[in-house]
């Protein structure tokens, strides 16, 4: 029997598992270190200094975070703009990941800013020539767009079911009307936000690459190129679907659900060509600028470059072109994981490994505090993801009542 898929809340699952408890401990650990950061300044718990002003909070939390949340806009382009209905089931999980991912990018920026309480300044003080300004503005707007795109999911869950505790019950009606109003107006205007989301993503994904171009000769030539923005955009598009596959397989495993292999392998089929284009640009750029010579010296940079390219691009590229991989859950997971690691490595390499300031006495390595905070943030993100999918209709399950016919899921339709 072929059931249709319907986004469902996983409320009958257990929240506390051993894994969840570890995540909670990691989160608490991060918060302790953050207290130091806010009470004694950045210097008290990071290894940042005047030579290395940016560390893993920028390279991992922000730069990698933005890249790994690219599943949001690539899936929106595929599902909404190219309008392939079969990908419906991945849209909501991808949207949720992007929404949470970008929220944590913003948090990462917030804690890294020396004057975090001025985080709103870019909204009113513009510098059009600064790529960081562009990244900042695009991310602010994009987070808003993502939250708006998520509203219908909340509406679907709560319309007709708003039941606040006794003393607040007089609010039930107004909230319900508000939700209905939002749902109705958004269902007509959602396309505006969806397209805006894709445009904003292309803009800031590429500008994130422009960021390091200005560092000029302080950047190792293996990474320093005027086409960095293009490379960043291509790799972000390339990692979008692998990231969806990666988390979808983890989620289905963690909640004991059946993996959506037919959709996932279809997604996987598209990854190979994208990674191929990325690799072609990367190698073409190396030829044009003649940077192959730097691979003959053995140093941290050249070794990291080779690992990034081999493990993160070439091996997964080959794997995504193989039928066997596309049809095997384990191998597909492996290939996707490699791509995810590859893009993360690329961001870390671009922002940290390639960056060699002229007067550094020793090279930067993150402090225990920096690592704790980064790990803790990821833990909190996963926990929130878990809470949301258990309480809102995000992950699609086969619905025994819906047998074919109804082609679209009914937005806000549980009347």
């Amino acid at each position: 029997m072929d059931f249709l898929m319907k986004p469902t809340l996983l409320k009958d699952k257990k929240f506390f598992t051993p894994g969840v408890i570890i995540l909670i401990l990691l989160a608490i650990n991060a918060i302790v270190f953050l207290a130091f950061r806010f009470f004694s300044g950045l210097g008290s718990m990071t290894n940042l200094n005047n030579q290395n002003p940016w560390g893993i909070w920028i390279a991992i939390d922000v730069a990698s975070g933005v890249a790994l949340a690219a599943g949001g806009f690539t899936s929106a382009a595929l599902g909404h703009i190219i309008h392939k209905n079969e990908y419906e089931v991945i849209l909501r999980p991808a949207l949720l990941t992007a929404m949470l991912g970008y929220t944590f990018v913003a948090l990462g920026v917030f804690i890294d800013l020396g004057r975090y309480y001025y985080i709103w300044h870019p909204l009113v003080m513009w510098n059009g020539s600064s790529p960081l300004f562009e990244v900042g503005i695009c991310v602010i707007i994009y987070v808003t767009v993502l939250y708006i795109e998520f509203i219908p999911i909340v509406c679907e869950r709560f319309i007709g079911k708003v039941k606040l505790i006794a003393s607040l019950s007089f609010l039930n009606k107004p909230i319900d009307s508000l939700l209905r109003f939002l749902d109705r107006s958004l269902s007509k205007t959602m396309f505006i936000f969806i397209i805006a989301g894709v445009v904003l993503s292309t803009l800031h994904q590429s500008s994130l690459g422009t960021l390091m171009v200005i560092a000029g000769p302080k950047m190792h030539p293996l990474w320093q190129t005027p086409i960095l923005p293009l490379l960043f955009l291509l790799s972000a598009i390339g990692v979008g679907f692998p990231m969806i596959i990666f988390e979808s397989l983890i989620a289905s495993r963690s909640f004991g659900l059946k993996a959506e292999m037919h959709v996932l392998s279809k997604l996987g089929r598209m990854v190979g060509p994208i990674l191929g284009i990325y690799l072609a640009f990367k190698i073409g750029d190396m030829f044009i600028r003649g940077t192959f010579v730097y691979l003959t010296e053995i140093n941290t940079q050249s070794i990291m470059f080779v690992i990034e390219m081999l493990v993160g691009v070439i091996v997964p590229l080959r794997m995504f072109f193989s039928e066997k991989v596309l049809n095997s859950k384990l191998l597909l997971f492996f290939a996707s994981t490699l791509t995810v690691i590859g893009v993360m490595l690329n961001r870390i390499n671009t922002f940290l490994v390639a960056y060699s300031p002229p007067y550094a006495l020793k090279s930067y390595f993150p402090s225990v505090g920096e690592i704790s905070v980064t790990v803790g943030f990821i833990a909190i993100l996963v926990l929130i993801y878990r809470v949301i999918v258990m309480n809102l209709p995000v992950i699609s399950l086969p619905d025994k009542k819906l047998v074919h016919k109804t082609k679209y899921e009914i937005i806000g339709g549980s009347k």
Partner: protein, 292 residues
């Protein structure tokens, strides 16, 4: 393909094949012909470090008494300007005469096309048309991108402050200059190492010195062309890379980034066109799937 076309192509590709506007379209900030600068002649400097003291005094930074500055032990390590000292003097071995070490004062170069100004997310750093590059505490958000961008690695950050940490760098004593005074370091210098004046005159002076004593000077005025020119200029008796100056090209540091930025954002045309394009695709595909 030359660089400009290549960039154009990249920018176009980034925004899905939309004509990039003329990259030169961005108006250049007009800088004053008569802008001031300082010529640092490292062959004269005696390493007395009085300038370090004067600079701290002028900026209300805590400092030891002037007498302590004659202590030569500090030269054992190379130092950098930081949040406690906006300028420092380093000492280098002199291959021509090992008895006479070379002393080099370091501070912000006050670039004519400063990377820090171009990079700053909120425009908290300003290039004044008179020459100085200054930082505004009321705007800065502490992102430290200026530090990533500066080719001379000058801006320093107060990492030990939890509230209102500042970006610290030489401000060319702009307040003293407004009062008609010399920069503190120039004023106190007991030798003629530091010459304050109009940048164009300083270049003449420097050329003249090189011409008169070709043996004393290497034929290179650092800052005349580096990263598009700087307000502070240096003369030396040997290669500047031996004196810990970074090797730099004459293209302004922000040039490439700004071309990319202005290419992608030429009057917002590329993003809007991309929006329209995606809207079109969405509309067509929606109709198609509706017909099925």
């Amino acid at each position: 393909m030359d660089r400009r076309n290549f960039l154009k192509a990249a920018a176009i590709a980034c925004t899905a094949a939309i004509p990039a506007k003329d990259l030169k379209a961005n108006e250049k900030f007009k800088i004053d012909e008569d802008r001031v600068g300082v010529l640092v002649d490292t062959t004269i400097c005696i390493g007395c470090r009085n300038c370090e003291w004067a600079c701290k005094k002028a900026h209300n930074l805590s400092t030891e008494p002037l007498e302590k500055y004659s202590n030569r032990e500090v030269f054992e390590n190379k130092r950098r300007p930081n949040n406690k000292a906006l300028t420092v003097v380093n000492q280098f071995y002199n291959p021509k005469n090992s008895q006479l070490p070379i002393d080099v004062k370091v501070q912000c170069m006050h670039c004519d096309e400063p990377a820090c100004v171009s990079a700053c997310i909120v425009h908290a750093i300003t290039k004044h048309k008179e020459g100085p590059v200054t930082w505004d505490s009321t705007m800065c958000i502490g992102c430290r991108y200026c530090m990533v961008a500066c080719p001379f690695q000058i801006p320093a950050f107060e990492y030990d402050k939890a509230l209102q940490p500042k970006i610290m760098k030489c401000d060319f004593c702009i307040d003293r200059q407004k009062e008609g005074k010399l920069p503190a370091c120039v004023e106190i210098c007991p030798t003629e190492t530091l010459t304050f004046g109009k940048r164009k005159d300083l270049i003449e002076i420097a050329r003249d010195r090189i011409k008169r004593k070709p043996n004393r000077y290497s034929n290179h005025i650092l800052g005349e062309h580096e990263v598009g020119g700087t307000s502070w200029l240096y003369l030396a008796g040997q290669d500047f890379s031996k004196l810990d100056f970074p090797k730099l090209v004459s293209d302004p540091a922000p040039g490439v980034t700004e071309s990319i930025q202005h290419g992608i954002f030429a009057y917002f045309i590329p993003p809007i066109a991309l929006y329209a394009l995606l809207g079109g695709i969405m509309w067509i595909n929606k109709n198609k799937s509706g017909e099925e």
